[in-house]
Symmetry: C2
Subunit: 219 residues, 2 copies
DNA sequence: ATTTATTTTTAGGGTTGACTAAATAATTCT
DNA sequence: AGAATTATTTAGTCAACCCTAAAAATAAAT
């Protein structure tokens, strides 16, 4: 079994490599893990020895199938715990990440299976992220970044890209939660900021904010 | 904050020193922690530096008030998690210890407070052990070891001293759970084994078993 | 095509928490 | 008391994971 630290690296490599076919650079890993490039190199070597990643010097790391399974298992635990915290323990969506970051490393297959059942097999976590199933399969859903959505149109917020407390609290403040209808009124050509309407009120959001919001068509 | 390893040592010292007024020997700590005496000495020194224990060479370790608070906080978390696993996730009392051993180290005050509330502020864990409150106070209850209980008489099982899976599964097998009435019929003078009656059936248990069972008068 | 800048790796350490083996203190036995 | 046994500490290593500084490789700029 991977150590706690290895699990965190695997998760980082998974997220950084998602969608891309080339290796994840040690620099990118180090940045995401809030550590130094030399530490990332060391860890990547260790993961390679354990057959969890493929690694060639100067070419970055790519998860093996075994590594992907391990990464997805941790992500599954992370998202189930986040769901538990919000659904059962009155946590808000901006409070769960830090705690789930610890809970995700608890080792017990029964624990996670029972938790899954207790939560009634949720498909998405409190940030709209899909919860991988027991076999490591991640259900793909249609969604697009609000920054790339055609306007004018009305969408439904289905997820966030950034799960930081700062961003989520900002969304709380302007009245956006999962399921909130967002009517996009106009886009400023200069900075691609958007004027949107939420529950009657009108709000102006930056491109950065819009690019961290996932929406779906309101069909 | 204590590290994970320090927390485990603090807990061990708390349990070993419970009731006794002299220091806990490094040997005893090592045995309980399943490690070597030299490792225990190292750790005790570190805990002493952090003011969590008082330690003088060759005189064992005693928790300071600060150390006791830290130990009890971990025990509180351990027992709340065990309760959660049994009450909500269909774990049996012989399956919870190992998992709680990991969960007890998750750091989040809100988590443990909410868990406490979610479980409706339980007073005892699945093994009949008292759950310390938020202030570190442990509610004392009357109880005695079945091996020391006057006979003949009828008692109620209120707890176990040994929480190992082997012992708990043995109790399952002979039909003893928390709350089970136990009628003690006779004690063998030779080995102090007991003949008891549980729900109609008659069972013979060793002194060792009886000394690991806590009972209360059936009043 | 060089030179310059950036990225990545290597070399050398530090810390935590283990271990073995050896030394020393405390205890028990005769 | 003196000797033998046991308990405890010290000394010296080790592995995991991190660090800084320097070297080497790659990428970018002139
Ligand atoms: Mn983590
Ligand atoms: Mn999430
Ligand atoms: Mn533990
Ligand atoms: Mn217990």
């Amino acid at each position: 079994m991977p150590t706690l630290s290895e699990e965190n690296y695997l998760k980082a490599i998974f997220h950084l490599g998602y969608g891309h076919s080339d290796g994840v650079s040690t620099n990118a890993i180090a940045y995401k893990m809030d550590t130094k490039a030399s530490s990332a190199t060391d860890m990547v070597k260790k993961l390679a020895e354990k057959q969890l990643v493929n690694y060639k010097k100067y070419q970055g790391a790519k998860l093996t199938e075994q590594g992907r399974q391990a990464a997805v298992a941790v992500i599954r635990k992370h998202r189930l715990w986040e769901t538990f915290l919000v659904e059962k323990l009155n946590f808000s969506w901006d409070e769960v990440h830090q705690v789930a970051e610890q809970l995700e490393h608890v080792e017990s297959e029964k624990l996670i299976d029972e938790l899954d059942a207790y939560l009634d097999f949720p498909k998405f976590d409190p940030h709209g992220h899909p919860i991988p199933d027991k076999n490591g399969h991640i259900h793909k859903t249609e969604k697009l970044k609000l920054s790339q959505a055609p306007i004018p149109n009305t969408y439904i917020c289905v997820g966030v890209n950034d799960s930081s407390a700062e961003f989520l609290q900002y969304l709380d403040k302007i009245g956006i939660a999962l399921g909130t209808p967002i009517k996009v009124l106009s886009k400023e050509v200069f900075d691609e900021s958007l004027t949107i309407s939420i529950g009657g009120g009108q709000v102006h959001i930056s491109k950065l904010v819009a690019s961290n919001l996932y929406v779906n068509f309101n069909h």
